[in-house]
Symmetry: C2
């Protein structure tokens, strides 16, 4: 551990699925993109031999003696080629933290993921450093926005950096650069390790959430194959959380039942979903890099695709009265909305044009909030995991409690 180093702040974005949710189950393509709602992790040196975690989003506060953790018989783990967390290892951590078996409490799972990542580092330099880990996330938990992946990626990036496995991106004060991004090979290391941690929290994750949290931008995924999209415009959206809880598993099972009851009807529907995704990708590729170039027609296509997709999702039965309500409400203002993720509640995204009147956006947000929904004006397609050199005013306010 570099002795000059006192604190690092890293952040990683959440994700939204733009098109193709549910169709992916049937081997059709989907597009996911990063969300400019991020998790911030502040890691600071301690002067004692303790390690502490404060992850208020999952109501987790804990600390341990590094010596006690060192005594656990953790198998060797190469952090660049990490092994999946074994059942034995997880049992060891559960015993150590006196957790019940088969707990699905996000707090318990976060503890396991943290301990997996933290102790894996012992294989690098034989050390487990006394550190404070403080998390502040803008992402709601359990809303399908990849909050756990953004945590895993932040932890992986910070730990790999602290242990010198990867280099801290450089900056000089003279540059006035706000944040730094890791090199491609270092991002690959962060992503691989975070994917293993995700397995603790999600069983058999697709790797989409951690890929987006690591690389940002957007990806096309199909049949387990993740492919980075080169040109994704930064699209402005309203993200609305209905706060209606839903079970992704149950929704996927419902669709599967429909699909296998009426395969001749729903097979073509899945092909239609695929065509929407491909058309969206084609339209992304046509977006000019120069923001002054006219994009009215391209946005009209995006809007059409949002509407078509929402109707397809309704057709397979994964919409919800609250989602319909958001579609109707935003449609009254000429805006286009679809659910994102599993549906049946959860979140919706509303596309904003570059020239959408800010007063209208304000008014729509107000109305959505008055319906009891959470609503953020945000951007998709932004950067992945970064380390912060200088915080923006907004970030400083956000992180005030962490870094005070």
């Amino acid at each position: 551990m570099d002795s000059k180093w006192k604190r690092i702040i890293v952040s990683a974005p959440g994700k939204v699925i733009l098109h193709g949710e549910h169709a992916v189950v049937y081997k059709e393509p989907a597009i996911a993109a990063s969300l400019d709602l991020r998790s911030y992790l502040c890691v600071e040196k301690r002067n004692d031999d303790k390690v502490s975690v404060q992850f208020p989003d999952v109501k987790l506060t804990a600390f341990w003696n590094t010596q006690d953790l060192k005594k656990l018989s953790i198998p060797k783990c190469d952090p660049l080629e990490p092994q999946p967390p074994s059942d034995e290892l997880l049992s060891l951590f559960r015993e150590f933290t006196q957790q019940k078996k088969d707990t699905t409490d996000p707090k318990d799972l976060a503890i396991l993921a943290f301990l997996y990542l933290y102790t894996a580092m012992q294989s690098t330099d034989g050390e487990l450093y006394p550190l404070d880990f403080k998390l502040m996330s803008q992402l709601p938990v359990g809303a399908g926005l990849g909050s756990s992946a953004s945590l895993s990626v932040c932890l992986s990036a910070a730990l790999l950096t602290v242990h010198g496995v990867i280099d801290q991106p450089c900056s000089s004060d003279a540059d006035k650069v706000m944040f730094g991004q890791w090199s491609a090979s270092h991002l690959e290391a962060i992503n691989k390790l975070a994917h293993q941690a995700e397995k603790i929290m999600h069983g058999n994750p697709s790797g989409i959430d951690n890929s987006i949290a690591t690389y940002g931008g957007a990806i096309r995924f199909q049949g387990g194959n993740i492919q980075k999209i080169d040109r994704i415009p930064e699209l402005r959206i309203l993200l609305t959380n209905t706060k209606v809880p839903r079970s992704t598993k149950a929704l996927v099972a419902d669709v599967r039942k429909k699909y296998y009851t009426y395969p001749e009807i729903f097979r073509p529907v899945m092909e239609s979903f695929a065509a929407v995704t491909e058309k969206a990708l084609e339209t992304f590729r046509m977006m000019p890099r120069d923001s002054s170039t006219e994009t009215t027609d391209l946005y009209s296509t995006f809007e059409d695709l949002v509407d078509i997709n929402q109707n397809l999702l309704k057709l397979i039965g994964v919409s919800h009265s609250t989602l319909e309500q958001i579609c109707q409400l935003t449609s009254d203002y000429g805006l286009h909305t679809k659910l994102t993720g599993a549906g049946g509640g959860g979140c919706a995204i509303t596309l904003l044009r570059p020239d959408t009147d800010p007063d209208i956006i304000e008014e729509v947000q107000e109305k959505l909030r008055s319906c009891g929904f959470d609503c953020w004006k945000t951007v998709v397609g932004g950067p992945g995991v970064v380390t912060h050199f200088i915080l923006t005013q907004q970030e400083q306010t956000l992180l005030n409690n962490l870094i005070s």
Copy 2:
């Protein structure tokens, strides 16, 4: 003309499209069925040399001297192999009735259709009989329910019978048979002639409406090919007329625009429509003839298909807020609704199970009416054109004004 004959009453049903509207434009199959809302035509001998028509549904009252009509130079027409009405013939009628050219007023078109059918009969026995034609229809005009075809079929059946081209179906009072149906070959003659009259009212009609009005039951049609369905159960429905006027032409054009803008998305959607239609036909074939046999599962399939189809229709953009309102309102009572025909307003059909509580049906009808809609509890799949020997109480009430 048989001298014993004094009055004949014929009736023919309207039609609803059960599945496949819009998809037919893309050469996919559709199912239409007869509707137990009928047009009744009462034809009575007159003692003078006049012919009169009273079609109150299209606000038409007219009478002419048969001698004046005989003076018109009507080309010979074999009513069993009728020629399409020529432009010259229609011009002749327009001049005779002092109509404006290119009028689309249903009243004017009904006059032309009547005169075409009435004068065509001169080719059979050289006569144009002095008769009263009085129509009473349960079908709203211009709502896509085939009201004009039911009129054409009634007129064709009555005129072909009066002129002895086809025989009046037999009955003896002892049989207590309420109505009689023509033989297959006579029905074919009625249908052919009515199809020509439909051309006056609809330009280039598919022949679906007159086929249903003639044969009753249900038909499968695809790419101009009309095929009678052998086993159609008599399904009970609520038929709701939103009374929102819409242009079939404009709706078809809107869908075409979507289809050709996003062919990869909408081609599979049309295949999905086709699969719904085929699944409905398959389910019809599975319906037991014996009404005491359990049909719960089959009705569940019908309900699924209604919901899926309505969502597909919404996807192609032909639903309407009033139609959505009817879907929502009936869904609150566990009932399943889809639009029928062109959409964008017009009519909706709500499936009723054999065991749907009559009180619930009453309540739903009440609610739909309180929304300003017309609503009928009716049956699809009933008989085509018939001649009435004895009227039911309900028919007698209905026709009181005509036959008094």
